[in-house]
Every structure is written in C-alpha cells, then in structure tokens.
Symmetry: C2
Subunit: 206 residues, 2 copies
DNA sequence: AGTGTGTTTAATAGGGCTATTAAACAAGTC
DNA sequence: GACTTGTTTAATAGCCCTATTAAACACACT
C-alpha cells in the first residue's frame, strides 16, 4: 500500500484514505497516527495542524480533478466523438478514484471555508476557463450547423456532470442496499457509461 | 420558526436544522441545546442519546422522500406527461426542502450503520415496490407501442434522479462560487427543471 | 397544606480530541 | 568522542463532548 516509506508520506497517504472514507470531522489525528504506525504527535510535527494536512490533500485532489476535465477536450472533430471521449475519460478517472466526488462534494457543501480554498486557489487558473471557451465554441459551431439542439453549453455540462458524478456518489448505496458483488458493480459502471453517453447524445439532437 | 412551542419539539426542530446544515458528526447536543434555549441535559432527557434523536429525524425524512416518489406516479396516460409531472413534483418537493438530498446522501454514504436503518425500516414497505412495478409497466407499454427507445426502466430512473438530485446537491456551490442572489438561484432551479424534462424526453425517443 | 408528576437545571464523571513541549533517539560530521 | 540535525516518543494542558444523577421547579389534584 505504501509506495514511499518515509513516515511523512505514509501519514499523508493514510490521512487521505481516512478523509476519503470518513470525511474531515469524523477523522482524528489520533486515528491517522494509529493507522500509520506512529504517535499522534508526529502527525502534528510534520503537518502542524489537522486542517493543514487536510488542505494539502484536498487541494491536490481538486487539482487532479480539474486536470481530468482539461484532458477531456481532446477530440473536438465531431460532437458525438467529443461526448463519447469526454464521458469515457471521466469514467476512467472516477473508476480509479471512486470516492473522489463524494469527498470533494461533502467538504465543499458542508464547510464554506473550503469554498474559499477553491476561490483563492483556482479562480486564477486559466485551465477551466480555456476549457469552457473551447467547449462553448464547439457547441455553437454544431448548433449553427444544425446538428445540435439549441441548449446552453452550461446545461450540457450539467447534464454530463450530473449523471456521471451521481453514478459514483451512489455507488456505496447501490452495492450495499442491492447486495451487489464487486464484479456486478463494475458491470453497472460500464453499463451506466454507455447509457449516459447514449442519453446525452440523443437528448441533444435538434 | 418554532411552530409548536413545547421544548421537546423545539429541540427536534433545531436538531433537524443543524443536522441538515452540518451533518451528524459536526453537530453536538450542546449546540442543539444552546440554539433551542435549554440545557444540554434536556436534550438527553427527551431523546436519551444523540443517535436516537438523529434516527428519528433521519427516518422521518427518508419516509417523506419516499412518499414524494410515490406521489409522482399520478399521470400515466402519456409518457411525456408522466415525465413532466414527476420531475415537477420532485422539484417542488426539493425546492421546499433543498438540503434533503445532501443530508440523506451524506449519512447513507459515510455511515454503513445508516444503511441498515434503511434496510430494516423500508425494505418491507410496499410503496416503492409498487412504484417500480407500475413504472416498469408504463415503460414497457410505451416501448411496445414504439414510442420509446429500448432503455431499461432502471436507467430512466437513474437519469431522472441524477439530474434532479444533482441540481440541489450543488446548489450551495452554485450560489457561493458564482456569487448568485437568491432570485438567480430560483431562476436557475426553474431553468434546470425545464431543461432536465426536455433532455429526458428527447433522450428517450426511439 | 401536601402529594405526585412531569420539566428543567447544575454539577460532574469519564472520555477523546488537538496541539505543544521536553526529552530520547539515530545518524552523519568534525 | 562531542556536536548537530532531523526524527520520534511520552507526557500533558486545555478543551469539548456525551451521558448520567441529584436536586430544584412548576403545576395539578385532593
């Protein structure tokens, strides 16, 4: 599990797992230390405060998520190709990190302080502004060519984000309440990817 | 704010607000008591434990949510009419209670114990089984008449739920990060209701 | 006036949490 | 061997939390 064996990184990895699983409020530095195999004082020695340790992990994850979004604009020849490619990239990224959406959402919703992190660290970043401009251009081009219904680009993004993110948000419920095996969960994810792609493309026909 | 002025109910109302806003872990009985205007011992006098107080509120809210779903099957003459009616009912209910989806999701995802509540209290309930059977029949009827693409009923529900619920999950982010007024938020909600309805109907055309 | 019942508070036990501090430890350098 | 520097632990201060207990309070009934 531990890739780097220095205690400093080990603590961060363990902390990330625990924050992902339980959220900030329900995770204690004592627990982090215990699972990392050191004393709780060491956690504070390396990261000073729990909030500090959390912020590093949180911002790193948000950054990673934004990079995925940036990478999803690779194929802009045809609109259908783009939709298919983008949803594919999102699903691959989320499958590798299924807890990410819940983690980010939880902290952003339940703590206004965390939203300040975002504003201060990512509003300046041109990545997602460029993304939005490029996406906007693509949509309007297709609409003028009559190949796309006249829907606001923002609504298209909402539709994709809703359905993609929601799939992973409810994954623990799906698995637990419907008593699904890991394999069945994987099939479910693959199936949803196809269906969402189909729904979005069909839903945007003029 | 307080409809009934007995302290017992007052505590429950305050507790509900705080649980909705902060979640279980970040809300203390001390804080509940303080906002209700009594001592913390009184909270325990009426509800014995914090978990107990929480469970009452949680199950009540889940019950209310399931009732909304049950009510949404009123108009089954045309499929389009049903979609429009159902999404309308969901949006009305959620607008009156915008924190509900996040509250239920958070507790269900972060605490397996809460999922046991559901299994024990609602698996027996025939409400949503009846709902699913009736919905399934409606979908298959429309598909055989060639008016609907051959999509699994479950995927249709996922699509509706994703987009409806997601709208309210990200509402605090939308309002805060994009600096929207309450009025703009209301417009956003109304706009999303229309768009989701359109997308779902269009996305299910054969 | 006295009794009983339900409500509310003050006080507290007992525990966990964050953060700090001083001291022990390890390992390299002069 | 003494010194430095970075790592780790033990101990603890100070806080807040949950839950309990005993006592005060209010009010109806007789």
């Amino acid at each position: 599990m531990t890739t780097n064996d220095t205690m400093e990184l080990r603590i961060r990895e363990v902390a990330q797992q625990l924050f992902f699983r339980q959220g900030y409020a329900s995770t204690s530095t004592t627990q982090i230390a215990h699972e990392a195999g050191c004393t709780q004082a060491l956690v504070h020695y390396y990261y000073r405060t729990k909030e500090n340790l959390f912020r590093q992990i949180f911002l790193e994850q948000v950054e990673a998520a934004l990079n995925v979004i940036g990478r999803s604009l690779c194929d802009t020849d045809s609109f259908e190709g783009f939709i298919e490619g983008a949803i594919g990239i999102y699903f691959d990224a989320l499958k590798a990190n299924p807890r990410l959406p819940y983690f980010v959402l939880e902290e952003l919703v339940s703590n206004p302080e965390r939203r300040r992190y975002l504003r201060e660290n990512f509003v300046k970043k041109p990545t997602y502004i460029m993304f939005y401009m490029q996406f906007d251009a693509l949509v309007r081009r297709e609409q003028q060519a009559g190949r796309l219904a006249h829907v606001e680009p923002f609504d298209i993004l909402m539709s994709i984000a809703s359905q993609t993110v929601f799939t992973f948000l409810v994954l623990p419920l799906y698995q637990d309440l419907l008593a699904r095996t890991d394999e069945q969960v994987n099939e479910f994810i693959a199936h949803r990817k196809q269906e969402i792609t189909r729904m979005v493309i069909q839903g945007l026909k003029p």
